[in-house]
């Protein structure tokens, strides 16, 4: 059975086949899980992204346990408080390394050579992660969460979204925090990783006087 990925002869119309060919062309498995990289990735700066992902995995894992036992559990149980600590510190790790990754990618101008979408998805992940963290801090059901809610309402009300997105409504904030926002962040992180793998890591910046076509600050 041929893989069909390079055959030019017309195929009978099959959406499934068309989708498979599209995926095989855009993201072959060899690109999704490559076993080699250009030698210039030998720098610790390249590690920030994967550490952020590891942090994110811990955020989700600890979050699932917290959700399993309900929002009051961590106030009442020593184990619960420990899992809450895991959640807090993994959130800190996630943000620290996401920002370090942002600094690294900025100074490498990682958006070059057709990688603008990857950069933009990354910024959106950052923004939505902030909203996710915000709903989390507000869902603590303690003094910190209470104070955050009382103040944040002024921002949401000024923006005209205060009755739709009522920060004083615990049920709403908690639901957003454990369902919608992790799903959004997770989906976007997956898309971001796929984009990185599709394009491969960007080449080093070339000095302008020996500019190659691939070195144009093209945003295509």
């Amino acid at each position: 059975m041929r893989d069909g990925s390079s055959r030019p002869q017309p195929e009978p119309s099959s959406w499934t086949l068309a989708l498979r060919h599209f995926l095989e062309r855009r993201l072959p498995l060899a690109h999704l899980l490559p076993d080699r990289q250009p030698y210039y990735v030998g720098s610790w700066v390249y590690v920030f992204g994967v550490v952020a992902i590891a942090g994110f995995i811990w955020v989700i894992g600890s979050g699932v346990v917290l959700a399993l036992f309900g929002p009051q559990w961590w106030h009442q149980s020593g184990v619960g408080r420990f899992v809450n600590s895991l959640h807090l510190w993994s959130v800190q790790v996630f943000f620290v390394f996401m920002v370090l990754h942002l600094w690294g990618q900025y100074f490498m101008a990682g958006w070059r050579d057709g990688r603008a979408k990857t950069w933009m998805v990354g910024v959106v992940i950052f923004a939505i992660s902030i909203v996710a963290a915000f709903t989390g801090f507000i869902s603590q059901q303690n003094f910190d969460g209470q104070w955050i809610a009382v103040n944040a309402k002024d921002a949401t009300n000024a923006a005209g979204i205060g009755s739709f997105f009522n920060v004083l409504n615990f049920g709403q904030m908690y639901g957003l925090h454990i369902v919608l926002l992790p799903a959004l962040v997770g989906t976007l992180v997956a898309a971001h990783i796929l984009l990185v793998r599709m394009h491969g890591v960007v080449r080093p910046i070339e000095p302008k006087r020996t500019a190659q076509p691939s070195d144009e600050e093209s945003a295509s």
Partner: protein
């Protein structure tokens, strides 16, 4: 850990010691990452392949 943190005040900047340590730590990690050698892939590493552009010649 539950007593209020110490704060540093400079001009209009008011920051807690824990937050200051976080930010300083991040900058330090970034600088170290820039400078520290990365293991296992020095010049002596055997190249697996050098890609060839099949559309050339």
């Amino acid at each position: 850990m539950d007593s209020p943190a110490t704060y540093v005040n400079w001009n209009f900047i008011l920051i807690s010691i824990p937050n200051l340590l976080m930010i300083a730590g991040m900058v330090a990690v970034f600088v170290i990452a820039l400078l520290a050698p990365f293991p296992g892939h020095g010049e002596s590493a055997e190249p697996v392949a050098v890609p060839v552009d099949r559309n050339d010649a």
